[in-house]
């Protein structure tokens, strides 16, 4: 070894990273395939003729019917249709919404950014609030810890749309600090992001604090203290990494909360975005859009869970040897 680092050895292969990464990517493909299949099965399960289902409230003309039948291959046997459908997905063709008269991919890409902005801001709020709560109260047995615990429990128990309504009532209607609805600049993002981030702040805060408290009681924490380091350093250099492990496990769940929650929160605040699209598609039974949203969610999930697993490997060296 030419250069010695006391912290971590570089080099992916040396640390045994390649195996786990490949395995997880493979598993991710399986998830995508199952999601696509589930969406397809859902389409077949909707009562009524599939052509009618696909048209839904769209304009119904004989030409269009013929077009749909060719596009989805509805005149051929189901396994064949299914194969075609998977092939089209592989080429990135998500189909066409006959209600909105547009390609689904186009609809999604035009509406994605408001939602991503909302979700990221909410995640940032949630993580910051959780970290502050956990770091300031962990391991201190006082009334503040109890109060923080109760706030987290409450935050995790309020449905996001209710949090949105309450925030609106207080900060928009009563105090007039923030706009009531729409998507105009950061001010209009604060309340929706808070409403969405509260649940994450609550759940993450609990996990982080419990993780910190448990780590601070471990023998290695006693050893670290016996070296004369400050309590803050003990938390930052030792306990926090241990507390992050269970928190990282929840990341996939958080993404679900964010995506699902975004739908309701966008409805509450009248914001454009995927939520409105999805809601409209579900109530209007616009199946091509519903199916595409499902695929989109699955893709996000696969990406995030692969990243999470890598984060795991980065945090915990004990997992790195591949079995």
């Amino acid at each position: 070894m030419s250069t010695l680092t006391l912290t971590r050895r570089r080099g992916l292969a040396a640390a045994g990273w390649i195996g786990p990464v490949v395995r997880r990517l493979g598993a991710g493909l399986v998830v995508l395939w199952v999601a696509a299949t589930a969406a397809y099965v859902a389409l077949l399960l909707v009562p009524g003729d599939t052509v009618d289902v696909l048209i839904a409230d769209g304009v119904d003309t004989p030409q269009r019917r013929a077009q749909i039948i060719t596009e989805w291959g509805l005149d051929r046997p189901i396994p064949h249709q299914y194969g075609d459908y998977l092939l089209r997905l592989l080429h990135g063709d998500l189909g066409r919404s006959y209600v909105l008269q547009r390609d689904v991919a186009e609809i999604l890409s035009s509406q994605i950014w408001p939602t991503v902005r909302l979700a990221l801001t909410a995640a940032a709020f949630g993580v910051v609030i959780a970290l502050v709560l956990a770091l300031t109260t962990a391991g201190r047995r006082s009334w503040t810890t109890g109060l923080a615990g109760f706030s987290e429990l409450t935050a995790a128990s309020i449905p996001p749309f209710l949090a949105g309504l309450l925030l609106l009532a207080v900060f928009s209607f009563t105090l007039g600090w923030f706009p009531v609805s729409g998507d105009r600049g950061f001010a209009s993002l604060v309340l929706p992001a808070l409403a969405l981030g509260l649940q994450i702040a609550g759940a993450l805060g609990q996990v982080l604090r419990e993780g910190l408290e448990r780590a601070l009681e471990e023998p290695f924490a006693v050893t670290a203290r016996s070296r004369g380091i400050t309590e803050w350093r003990l938390v930052a250099r030792h306990a926090l990494r241990h507390a992050l492990l269970p928190a990282v496990t929840l990341t996939g769940w958080f993404v679900g909360v964010l995506l699902g929650g975004a739908i309701v929160v966008e409805a509450v605040f009248g914001r454009p975005g995927l939520g409105q699209i999805t809601l409209g598609a579900v109530t209007g039974k616009d199946m091509p859009v519903v199916m595409a949203v499902i695929m989109f969610a699955a893709a996000i999930y696969v990406t995030v869970s692969t990243l999470v697993d890598l984060a795991y490997l980065a945090i915990d060296p004990r997992l790195r040897r591949s079995r």
């Binding site: 006391l6 004369g228 945090i315």
Partner: protein
Amino acid sequence: MSLIEVEDLRVTFPKAGVEAVRGVSLSIAEGECVAIVGESGSGKSVTARTLVGLTGQGATVTASRFDVRGRDARRFGPRDWRRLRGRFAGLVLQDALVSLDPLRTVGAEIAEVLAAHDVVPRAGRTEKVLELLDAVGVPEPELRAAQYPHQLSGGLRQRALIASAIAADPPLLIADEPTTALDVTVQAQILRLLAARRAEGTALLMISHDLAVVSSIADRVLVMKDGVVVEEGPTNRVLSAPERDYTRLLLAAVPSAASRGTRLSAIATGGVSLRAPLPERRIDHGSPVVEARGLTAEYGRRRVVDDVSFEVHPGETVGIVGESGSGKTTVARLVMGLMKPVAGQVWLDGSPWSGLPERERRPRRSVIQVISQNPLDSFDPRYTVGRLVAEPLGGPWKSRAARVAELLERVGLPADLAGRHPRGLSGGQRQRVAIARALAPRPRVLVCDEPVSALDVSVQAQVLDLLGEIQAADGTALIFISHDLGVVHHISDRVVVMREGRVVEDGHVDEVFFLPKHEYTKELLGAVPKLATTL
């Protein structure tokens, strides 16, 4: 000047309602080695941690005097304590696998002390870490410094932990059970390392449950019980001429060659303790009740037991000793018929046992029963003591109560324990419950897998005595698996020494232990700390 001078130290945990330390006085001079010995709950660890201000949350500490290098520690704030830790006193806990941060490299852990006290400038830290690892006898320091604790063997880990404790060159080293989780040969190495530190002038405060470990290294010994120092004095004097009954009891409870055939849990009275003999055993040298021939077992492709043969006669005790990884527990599983050998065979009562389908083995299961190291694991978590003991008994549940009471009485437990949950019992009581359950089907063979390893020495003595009594009364054969050579010598008639799955040596226990033929047996025996006592 003394490093530490403490008088009437009291530590209470008011919330838990515990008085852990009740008036301990202690002084440690420069370069001195003091040992605190006691069983669990004696307050020895709490005392040691209090000396560096790490008693823990919710503890109240009082003392009429508490001087650290002449400064009154009763007035210390958190910052004063921090400056002392690592710099004035290094702390070594047991089992570095959990005492070193598993998520950080060994080198980073050692460097932390250097940074906290600014021992060497930042640029020189890496070099200093390597120097320290080298000093504690870790080969290839560059490689090891970049590794994580789980990648190191138990011995290397413990050495690394010691390196981090001595990094800032403190005049005092506090070692709390520093060798307890280690194999005996590794323990000997760590003790030599500590002795070497001492020879260089570092004072040592050693906390241990094991008198023998302490006897080789300590100048003075404090014997603690229930938060009080029972006896104190020079090591030789305390071990050879103990003044207190409790010390005597502790010494008498240590199993060894000398204690064979006698009770360990002797009751010391009037300053004299006599070794009462155990009831006579009869060994039937006719046909063996268990016979293992050429046993071989594999996990995956790894061979963990390789060509192991032995036999056990009714009434006899066969000891199986070995360090961790020697395959002795796998032998127990093979004998119990819980695992299929890839080659070889076990005969029970003269007929084949190990290769059978479970259906044919089942009716004969009552012949052979097992007692394990951690009885709680072997208890259904929903069951009460009474139900656990009643389960192996046949017949309707209601009619079993009388027999349960009888069995509990036999293992020295009050009958009203039957309604309790094992979780609420002490370790010794749990092991007695396990023994009562094992006795219920009236077995002819008991397989004991490290049955006393988790117990305090006085409780261990009681359990070993109980096994002796049972054996004498029922003529039960015992297969006794242990890492502790003293225990094995005390209880066994014949012994099998195992290493890496193979039998290294076997024969009569006195022959093997007094006149070992194999190098490994010699090494093992040489590594066992000797207790020089006249008792």
